[in-house]
């Protein structure tokens, strides 16, 4: 499998090769080298489906990936669903095609929009997405980064009911709560109940409402100018058909002597893969064949980075507000830290416990680079005195024992200082946060840990 992708230079026949290789260095094979590793490792993709029950989400997912993820599903009746809350259910499937392995995770949200009172029914979903970001953030900041599991949600297919006149209030609120956390792809479900003109009107209506409410759905990236016309044409058509009107089916029916996947009605057969009947093919091509990688990139580069920046800023602002935090583990401003993450925090604490001497660090810090104006003041909008790092450094002294100077850095996790001279560990609450404290009374007190 890999030899096909990897360029092996057969330098065995020098005479023949020399002409050919005269101007040829050979790093054009670099993309292949890159992909060889990825193909070996395999890819992963997490897809979330959200929408009311009965809109055909499971059927669509089965149709997209040609599997049956929901074999043993029990559908609840109305009575049982009265007190149901929104759950998050994950299904994982390993698919292999032409030597490429994909670990597909489908995150299902049964119960969404089903209750009588649907206020904030999207909260479990936003919490789930945030948890995945948080876990990745911790893993990324940790010491062992070799095998980070990426469970972040790469795309959310949101199903809009075709029976209304556009977006309903719950649709709008859901999308507004999630559009900055995940790539939302809105779909019109069960599109076989609408005739083409109705579909057109509904799409226009939905597009207008999305603009009106300022919802940022996933935008298809622009084509390169050097792509061929056919590709550009396809790209244009794709953008104009959003939101996609889809129909799902995994049953094969007979139509005009041909076997197609579709739905059989007395008045005709709806073919799932017929572009004139619905946008299923467009959705599948977009999701799998052309934009899968881009969806992952936008999740990593935009949504995750936003989360991370917010997280860090929240942590620093929280610690500046409460001037004296006695607790060793800073409280992270996240809604539901479950026992998993608590365990993780404890584990990381154990990992990191070995205490090392600060002396060499002190010498390093006295070099020029670090005795500059502290950037934090700029952020907090405070005046910047010169060679000012933090309460510890103001008078030119540091820790009474070893003279440790603040590094001018933020330490969100374990603000501890181990003094090799006093032989004790101190807790630096603001000391490590580089807070300007002109009043000596407010300088961080060294609290024995």
């Amino acid at each position: 499998m890999s030899t096909g992708l990897r360029y092996k230079s057969k330098a065995g026949n020098p005479e023949e090769k020399q002409d050919h290789e005269k101007q040829y260095v050979g790093f054009a094979t670099l993309p292949n080298q890159v992909h060889r590793k990825s193909v070996k490792k395999g890819f992963d993709f997490t897809l979330m489906v959200a929408g009311e029950s009965g809109l055909g989400k499971s059927t669509l997912v089965n149709s997209l990936f040609l599997t049956d993820l929901y074999k043993d599903r029990k559908l609840l009746n109305a009575e049982e669903r009265i007190n149901q809350t929104v759950e998050i259910v994950k299904h994982t499937v390993d698919i292999e095609e032409k030597g490429v392995k994909l670990k597909l995770t489908i995150v299902d949200t049964p119960g969404f929009g089903d209750a009588v009172n649907n206020t904030e029914c999207w909260k479990p979903i936003t919490d789930y997405i945030d948890q995945q970001f948080e876990q990745y953030f911790r893993d990324e900041s940790g010491l062992n980064r070799k095998n980070i599991q990426d469970n972040r949600v790469h795309c959310c297919l949101y199903f809009i009911s075709p029976f209304g006149h556009g977006l309903r209030p719950v649709d709008v609120e859901f999308m507004k709560a999630l559009h900055e956390k995940v790539n939302i792809v809105p779909l019109i479900a069960k599109a076989d109940c609408l005739i083409p003109s109705e579909i057109r009107k509904l799409k226009e209506r939905i597009r207008e409402e999305i603009d009106k409410f300022g919802i940022k759905v996933y935008q298809f990236p622009e084509c390169d100018s050097d792509e061929d016309e056919e590709f550009k044409q396809q790209d244009r058509e794709l953008k104009e058909s959003a939101p996609f009107a889809v129909i799902g089916s995994n049953t094969v029916v007979e139509a005009k002597g041909q076997r197609v996947r579709g739905r059989l009605y007395p008045w005709g057969i709806v073919e799932v893969e017929n572009q004139a009947h619905c946008d299923f093919v467009k959705l599948r091509n977009m999701l799998i064949r052309t934009h899968m990688h881009d969806l992952k990139d936008v999740t990593c580069d935009v949504h995750y980075e936003n989360y991370r920046a917010q997280c860090i800023q929240q942590m620093t602002s929280k610690l500046t507000q409460d001037n004296r935090i006695e607790s060793p583990i800073p409280i992270l401003p996240l809604p539901t830290p479950d026992t998993e993450t608590e365990k993780l925090i404890k584990m990381k604490d154990e990992e990191v416990r070995p205490v090392s001497a600060w002396a060499s660090l002190v010498l390093e810090l006295e070099s020029e680079e670090f005795l500059q104006d502290c950037p934090i003041e700029a952020v907090l909008g405070l005046p910047t005195p010169t060679s000012y790092h933090c309460g510890l450094l103001v008078s030119g002294t540091g820790c009474e024992g070893c003279g440790f100077l603040c590094q001018g850095i933020v330490a969100p996790f374990h603000p501890r200082h181990s003094c090799p001279v006093l032989g004790q560990e101190f807790l630096l609450s603001e000391g490590s946060l580089c807070l300007p404290q002109a009043d000596p009374q407010l300088w961080p007190q060294h609290v024995p840990f």
């Binding site: 230079s9 330098a11 065995g12 090769k17 020399q18 002409d19 101007q23 260095v25 050979g26 094979t29 670099l30 993309p31 080298q33 890159v34 992909h35 990825s38 890819f43 040609l66 599997t67 049956d68 259910v89 994950k90 299904h91 994982t92 499937v93 698919i95 095609e97 490429v100 010491l143 995994n250 049953t251 094969v252 029916v253 197609v260 059989l264 599948r284 091509n285 799998i288 064949r289 052309t290 899968m292 990688h293 991370r308 860090i312 620093t316 990381k348 416990r353 680079e369 670090f370 500059q372 950037p375 700029a378 850095i409 933020v410 330490a411 969100p412 374990h414 603000p415 200082h417 490590s432």
Partner: protein
């Protein structure tokens, strides 16, 4: 979480009319196209590669690098003349070029180390080099830990270090051993026997064997390191390279001559023309294929996943587990470094 591992072709769940499964219809999802998607993306963003050359002056470092990349990426020094003083410490000179081939753009940076091993007292002459390498790791770490991170952090870390061994024919010199001992832990070192046209075939094989033995005895792990072989396929391939071909005995040249009606790169001597790309003459082609055509990406990955992570872990541990974060806004990006 239910885990199912189905084959890609499935029976339909509820057949409405009695029909069989048409494998062609239900066949193709299209997952393998993700490779094409990735490829397009990487072609657009381009690659960067940083290669460092270390060795005494006059061993043909710049010529070799120019020959490797078939362009003038490194300026040859004409030696120290009487007016110029030999620098007291090893200098580090990094020159960047963008070269393109087959639609693939590469930003190549050649890091030269003039002055290495040229003094009378060469103690600790590897320290500026080690410092430079660690500084690049530090730069990358700071970028990574920033609040507002750049999408593609500029990678100035040294991916590969070609160490030039003088073709004495006897064994490695103490300076060579010291350098490689210190630096094989922080960067990928590829030892290269320079000016190999001064040795006959037998002398070459003997010398290589001796060098390999010495490296092994001293516990110096050069690239490809044994411990980082990921699977059997890699291991067998790399074993072959490690035990037979390395260190590569190379000859560099940027002049062309006519041989048998073809123009080849070579060195013209009264007794014949040494063809650089001829495998029977020297191992330049092997080195080039190894570094560029098969292991370029692997060099970068080992640097990122292993050497850089080691550095990062050490930094975090030294800080007592604190990731060295700086709170910077967009405007203050360039501060503190």
């Amino acid at each position: 979480m239910s885990e199912l591992v189905p084959e890609p072709r499935q029976k339909p769940v509820v057949p409405m009319k009695p029909v069989g499964i048409n494998a062609n219809l239900l066949g193709y999802i299209g997952i393998d196209t993700i490779i094409e998607q990735m490829r397009k993306k990487t072609m657009k963003t381009g690659f960067d590669f940083n290669i460092m050359v270390v060795g005494q002056s006059g061993l043909g470092k710049s010529t070799l690098v120019n020959t490797l990349f078939k362009s003038q990426v490194s300026r040859k020094s004409s030696g120290w003349n009487r007016e110029e003083k030999i620098p007291k410490t090893v200098e580090i000179k990094a020159i960047g070029h963008v070269i393109e081939e087959g639609g693939v753009k590469m930003k190549l940076t050649v890091i030269d180390t003039p002055g290495f091993g040229d003094q009378i007292n060469n103690e600790n002459c590897w320290e500026p080099i080690e410092k430079y390498i660690n500084e690049q790791y530090e730069k990358f770490l700071k970028e990574e830990v920033n609040i507002a991170r750049k999408k593609r952090i500029p990678d100035t870390r040294v991916h590969c270090c070609l160490y030039f061994i003088s073709p004495t024919g006897h064994s490695l010199r103490p300076l060579d051993l010291e350098f490689m001992k210190h630096l094989s832990k922080v960067v990928n070192i590829i030892p290269v026997i320079a000016k190999a046209d001064t040795m006959t075939l037998e002398e070459k094989t003997e010398f290589k064997q001796r060098v390999r033995k010495e490296l092994e005895v001293n516990g110096i792990e050069f690239y490809p390191q044994k411990e980082f072989d990921e699977d059997l396929e890699d291991k067998t391939e790399n074993d072959k390279i490690r035990q037979e071909s390395m260190p590569f005995a190379v000859v560099g040249s940027d002049k062309e001559y006519q041989v048998n009606g073809k123009r080849v790169l070579g060195r013209k001597t009264p007794w014949g023309i040494i063809e650089v790309e001829n495998l029977t003459h020297c191992e330049f082609a092997l080195l080039r294929d190894f570094v560029i055509r098969t292991h370029l990406q692997d060099l970068k990955e080992v640097t990122h996943n292993i050497h850089y992570e080691t550095y990062r872990a050490k930094r975090l541990n030294d800080n007592g587990g604190l990731p060295p974060m700086t709170v910077e806004t967009e405007e203050n990006h360039e501060s503190n470094l």
